[in-house]
Symmetry: C2
Subunit: 193 residues, 2 copies
């Protein structure tokens, strides 16, 4: 669907309004009517911008939240070229998820959209981009001679992704960032060798 | 509630029947009537053994599944005293979760029980016991001089727990054990130094 500039802005306003609402607490069974009320949108507007309805809107919100996950780690994630940058990146992650606490907006959205191919695609794209940034950071450190060349950047980057996801998952049960910090610190120590 | 031997066996039969059912695929909105039908139990029996109803039964099933998570890693998890034992443990985890694939019975149960204090307690107890086994393994390896004493066993064990949980979470989106294996291998490499 080709949208005008105004149409794109309206569509984005609906997405960001829905995202803010879904972030506000732990909403269960959110309906399109809830989203309409919050964003001040008519039924016909919603279906104009999201012809497939709830799933399409929720996937758009999930994509928006996924992009925020990476943005919140910038500029560090995009330039992991010194140990100071790795430390700042580590801090940005721990701070972000400490603030987020037990409530994961992307998790809520995935719960609403279910394990559809579209939902999986949002997650695998996010994880792939994330891992790619970390892999590039490790390779850059190797080029500067700061990380030993024997390490496989992609495999260690995959370990970082697993450690971060698991650390956040444990945080959602325990309310503590201990596991997230342990995973990040242990893997950074492994890079330092 | 004090149960006779026969009562305990009946209660366990209900738990295991419900667990097998919840493992069979990805059931949504399971009711107590479903569990009654599957386990051939009357309503009064269910409420005799689980007076608080569905939540109590589902928590009992979650506890049972949690104990199986650790049992499936034995005898390796309880005796991480050589590199060969660490490798066998690694294999037992990867094999278990490869077989489990996208469907996580404990995750389904947690979805049903929600983020109640009881559900959180099942998860934190499981993770605590799991981490404790790994911590002990690292300390044993340090005592034998196989792992450098500078490593903090509890912190590295926490990193293992995060890496495994995250690896399994990624597996549920991607269907691949790549991240789980990368996390385990990278952390074991870090132990080897």
């Amino acid at each position: 669907m080709a949208l005008t500039t105004k149409g794109r802005a309206t569509r984005q306003r609906i997405i960001e309004g829905a995202a803010a609402y879904l972030r506000s607490d732990e909403p269960v069974g959110v309906t399109l009517d809830d989203i309409r009320a919050i964003t001040g949108t008519s039924k016909s507007q919603i279906f104009h911008y999201f012809p497939d309805g709830k799933e399409e809107l929720f996937l758009a919100v999930a994509r928006y939240e996924a992009s925020r996950v990476l943005e919140d780690q910038q500029p560090h994630l995009g330039a992991l070229t010194s140990w100071a940058a790795w430390d700042r990146w580590r801090e940005s992650i721990v701070t972000r998820y400490r603030l987020q606490g037990r409530h994961c907006p992307l998790g809520t959205l995935m719960g609403e959209v279910g394990s559809t191919p579209g939902a999986r695609e949002v997650i695998t794209t996010l994880l792939g981009q994330w891992q790619n940034h970390v892999r590039k950071g490790i390779a850059d450190m190797q080029e500067s001679g700061l990380v030993r060349p024997a390490l496989d950047p992609d495999r260690v980057a995959a370990a970082f992704i697993a450690g971060i996801q698991g650390g956040v998952l444990v945080l959602m049960s325990t309310g503590s960032t201990t596991h997230l910090e342990a995973a990040l610190d242990t893997l950074i120590a492994h890079l330092r060798g």
